[in-house]
Assembly symmetry: C3
Homo-oligomer: 208 residues x 3
């Protein structure tokens, strides 16, 4: 049952990432092909980059190619039903599953690297890549400066912090599933609180 629950969360989060791609492509007035592609890049780009760097195959979306179909169908549905007036609502409603994805995919990334014997800092980096680089690739392909690098919101930061927390818990001998659940929840919670309370990163004060 725990597994079903996790799969459900992963699916929700992947859809949120894909929808963020749909919105970005819509903002750039892309055609249907572009919308599908950008959605796919946003949804699967981070994990794919991690697997390329760690030299792991098959990719998640090769092993479970039904997810490609799932994202494809949902993007078509989104294109059929989304109207301009839905955009702000859509953007707001993906905030929560996106935060869940940040937590979930960070732990997946850290764990994958940890199981392959990577150094700690590389494990944390892989958590960051998995959770945040789908969005970075999305923005690069949309010809924008990546939001994760420039919007002064704590997003990657929580992935970084949560990655270290997960490592710490694992090294302390915590049950893996407890460690994962705890750090994913904390990352998601911190991200949601950042949004709710409008926390911003201390800006780099390039003063004279």
């Amino acid at each position: 049952m725990l597994e079903t629950f996790t799969t459900l969360l992963e699916w929700l989060a992947t859809m949120a990432f894909a929808l963020s791609g749909v919105l970005a492509a819509a903002r750039k007035r892309m055609d249907a092909v572009g919308v599908c592609m950008v959605a796919g890049i946003a949804a699967f780009g981070g994990g794919t980059l991690r697997d390329v760097l760690l030299d792991l195959r098959p990719f998640f979306w090769v092993k479970h190619s039904s997810w490609l179909w799932g994202v494809f169908v949902c993007v078509l549905v989104a294109m059929a039903f989304l109207r301009k007036r839905h955009l702000p609502l859509t953007e707001r409603s993906i905030l929560i599953p996106d935060a869940v994805g940040l937590g979930l995919f960070t732990t997946v990334g850290v764990l994958t690297a940890y199981q392959h014997g990577m150094p700690f800092i590389v494990c944390v980096l892989m958590g960051v890549l998995t959770s945040a680089f789908g969005g970075v690739l999305r923005d690069v392909v949309c010809n924008d400066v990546p939001a994760a690098f420039a919007d002064h919101q704590p997003y990657v930061v929580w992935s970084f912090v949560g990655g270290w927390l997960l490592l710490g818990l694992l090294l302390l001998g915590t049950e893996p599933w407890v460690a994962i659940l705890l750090s994913a929840t904390i990352i998601t919670g911190l991200r949601l609180m950042s949004v709710k309370f409008g926390w911003t990163l201390p800006s780099w004060n390039l003063r004279e």
Copy 2:
């Protein structure tokens, strides 16, 4: 003789992709280094990305490094002889070999993935990557929104359709070379008809 013919077509198509890179770099007023690099990325980027994702080595351009020399020399020749007034003509004259490349490289991509036992949707995706992502990488490096995602012309769509056609023919037990020839021809034909008759993708109507 069939093989010589195919190699000739591949060479023509690769040159068309490289020239599209030359034109894109020229439009951005890049220097000679940039022109060569963007031409190389446009010509070899799609197949290289496919091989990285499928974890195949050696790359085409490592096995047949003479093609690197070929593209390099042709780009130098293009820089020596191309003048501003030639640009519209060049753009028009690469349309046909580019369409041939779309057909040819789609089938190469689908077939490569098929032979490595990938799921059907991944095979088709690899066909799309091989034929269209050289151009996407070219546009990303040139700091443009990828034309394949945003110009509302059916281009990737034909690659997608033709990829499924090829798979269908293979599954029906058609001789591979017949299936390849047929689907490559149909993709190329549909692309050329799209250009001739000015077909556009139904725009995503983000109306209120």
Copy 3:
């Protein structure tokens, strides 16, 4: 002692690449996360891309993960102490270690590919990728046209020339360390002379 000296040079050059990322991110008003990420991409992107293409693992920064920490700490220090009035000075003072990096990483790239039996042109290309594509990826992520492709300064050109020089020396039976030292020095020297005397690449004259 030679090894210590080389490591020292590599460290200086990596820091120069990282600082070029810091400056690029600062110009785009990125937040602290973006500054760290772009610095890391500029410092390690070229070598990582080479290793992905040659299918080599572990990456340099996995084997010696202390370098990740080093760059991370230096970027934090840079953010703590860099002020606007320091920027022109910083840009000038990284010119020399950056030129050292151009020479050093070109030879590293060529040698790595040579040892893996790549064709000559691919070896030279890997030298170019290693030394210049960190900067290209930095500019792509910063949503700029890559400076290496468009600033009309001879930079990649010296890497290309020096790569062939290194190959030639190796084929002539020169002691590897002599060949490396000589070509790295010549590349660095040519780059510094280009800056000092303001050499520019012959512009592609797209006249009527």
